[in-house]
Symmetry: C2
Subunit: 399 residues, 2 copies
């Protein structure tokens, strides 16, 4: 029974809401982002049982150390804790990066009295810088001592350029599902994205949890794009403590719903975004082709900057459809923007006026509907516009 | 015998330089850009002989009317004139767009007393707007009357967001090669790009000219990218008047050199560009793979914005290599920037310092050298950074 987003997150943050049984949370400042930064940058989730573990990871061939370790852990399929940091990606750090991640896992395992391979590491931040383990490891006992029932601290500890913490929750009978994510740039097609953790107390086996996660990803985290760049660190893990019986179908629905909500939160908080843009493509021969067309439009710099400027330059959308690599017959293309007929039969609609489209594009939620042919394929992608602010955020010396 | 760029263009613009025999030039304001715009927006090149015609066109499936017509003309292989306009792309204009282009070709043919299918049309500008033929056609007699020996007017007539006209020339014994191009956004991999015209008075047959153009394109116009968007109008045509004997090998060299110079001019004048960036990739299994890796780096928004901000965030380059789709072994990756060792064996070089790379990135010409493995493949791509100005130019209401 999904509540409204705002209510749900507030309920969670107040600690009165839907917190899956068996999990506790902690976060501290461990001096990872910089010596000057005083906010949270190291978060921990502990589970009182051997949780069932599933996960999906970046398809980037350059994988961060925690991704390499996490992929092995997901194969084994159980975990007792998640240790996540912001400020350092531990990527392109070679064997030293692996050793650093393991030493952090061991420090947590010692305090929690679990096996170190059951502590799942996650990192986000600058690539190529060594983990400051000399600062982190002495702080781990304090991190573990802080474990409590408030998940909000974990959501804040994994933020980088995010402007708000990202959590979503659903009830499934007596059980529940709680998710965390961080954005907000380098959100790329072709994989999960960024860091995300989904917790549930539902009783579910490894195969079923894997199945639920993989199905959910394809229409959610794999359907969003901010800048088309694919991170070295993208990770989504799901842990199930198994303490509560739940209806399998309802659980699947709830997990999918939490993951979709997190994905949309990431887009809404995209770096410098001023508009939330939905690109719906239909009429291709299959869904895969529809996704490729939608991603071409969603990643086009010319489309994104036109949206930022409310420029009714629809030709850029049609041009992106044309170069997507998917066979289309230009005469078949139709485009609606905010419900207005813009392109019909590959040319400007008779009813089109520049001024009405310009007005319609001034809103902060934009929907572009593209019919690319007579086929049955369809896919929806969510993205943002491209603003001065995006350039500012990403041109900053060491963001 | 290539002269220096500045000298060459100045010589051409003074009308004292290398102008291929048989060609004359004209340009006027025909009210195409807007009623307010008073600059040149319609240009004409006429040839006194049946010129041999070659050309390459956008691979975008959504092709502008002049592209559809031009592709047929290139198959036939001869031309008497080129009619080019800025301000209106005549794309997504359906059968009406084809009819409009043909009526303009006929008006020119009537005045020049040639066949209308020998007038090659080229258009650049906004997509989806009807050609204002009612304003253009009455001006064509004045355009034809203005034909003279000064090619500079044609270079100016095809400018859109270009800040400078783009011409390049080379002598080939008694013959010569003269090229024109316009940039400056929507410069995409996978095809020529934008509008370009190459003229020569050398005697060359259709097959040889086709061959020269196709070979030249692959390492020049197909090796540049500003924003990864591929236009509906990209066209490069070459006309040879055949009035002068020339050495075939020298001709090939001269045409290639002119086309490369035009391609680099387009990058240097990329929309909002503050840096000219060379991305050299080697070590892949073949050149094609090297090109894909180089394009992934050159088109990465995170790399482009980091370059704009002189941010020594080299991890974004390695991340782009990793998601390019080409198999790479992370341990094999090496990166040099401005000659500084940045990445060796997939990790940060021992000699790397953030401050020295930050200083090196402040220059306006940046060279990134990437070794992606032990293979023999190599390719060089030219691109720009991504600045506030790019967003400003492209977010403007109807650019």
């Amino acid at each position: 029974m999904p509540l409204r987003i705002g209510q749900e997150v507030q309920a969670v943050l107040r600690g009165t809401g839907v917190i899956p049984k068996g999990f506790s949370f902690s976060a501290i400042n461990a001096g990872i982002k910089s010596r000057e930064y005083k906010g949270l940058d190291l978060g921990l989730i502990a589970c009182s049982t051997d949780a069932v573990l599933s996960g999906v990871f970046t398809r980037n061939l350059v994988k961060a150390a925690p991704v390499i370790i996490g992929m092995e852990q997901v194969k084994k399929g159980s975990a007792r804790a998640v240790l996540a940091n912001a400020g350092n990606a531990n990527a392109c750090t070679g064997q030293m990066g692996i050793a650093d991640a393991r030493s952090m896992m061991e420090a947590v395992a010692r305090e929690l009295k679990v096996r170190s391979e059951e502590v799942v590491p996650m990192s986000t931040g600058t690539i190529g810088v060594s983990m400051p383990t000399e600062r982190i490891i002495p702080e781990i006992p304090r991190l573990v001592k802080g474990l409590c029932a408030d998940p909000g601290c974990f959501a804040r500890a994994i933020m980088t350029t995010d402007t708000v913490p990202k959590m979503a929750a659903r009830r499934v009978g007596e059980a529940c599902v709680l998710g965390f994510a961080k954005g907000a740039g380098m959100i790329a097609p072709n994989m999960a994205t960024t860091l995300a953790v989904v917790l549930t107390d539902a009783l579910v086996d490894k195969q079923e949890l894997d199945n639920i996660i993989k199905t959910s990803i394809s229409s959610t985290f794999n359907a969003i794009t901010i800048d088309g760049d694919m991170s070295t660190n993208d990770t989504l893990v799901a842990l199930a403590s198994g303490l509560v019986e739940a209806d399998p179908l309802e659980l699947r629905y709830a997990v999918n719903s939490v993951i979709e909500e997190l994905a949309l939160m990431i887009v809404k908080d995209g770096e410098g975004a001023t508009k939330f843009v939905t690109v719906k493509v239909s009429g291709t021969s299959n869904d895969r082709d529809a996704r490729i067309v939608a991603m071409a439009v969603a990643n086009s710099l010319l489309v994104k900057t036109a949206l930022f400027g409310a420029d009714p330059n629809w030709g850029r959308i049609v041009a992106a459809v044309g170069y997507s690599g998917i066979p289309v017959e230009p005469r078949d293309i139709a485009v609606k923007i905010q419900g207005l007929d813009v392109v019909e039969g590959g040319v400007q609609s008779r009813s089109f006026t520049e001024s009405s489209l310009h007005e319609a594009l001034k809103g902060s939620k934009i929907t572009i509907e593209i019919v690319a042919g007579p086929g049955q394929g369809r896919f929806t992608v969510w993205t943002t516009d491209l603003s001065y602010k995006y350039v500012e955020i990403n041109a900053q010396y060491r963001t």
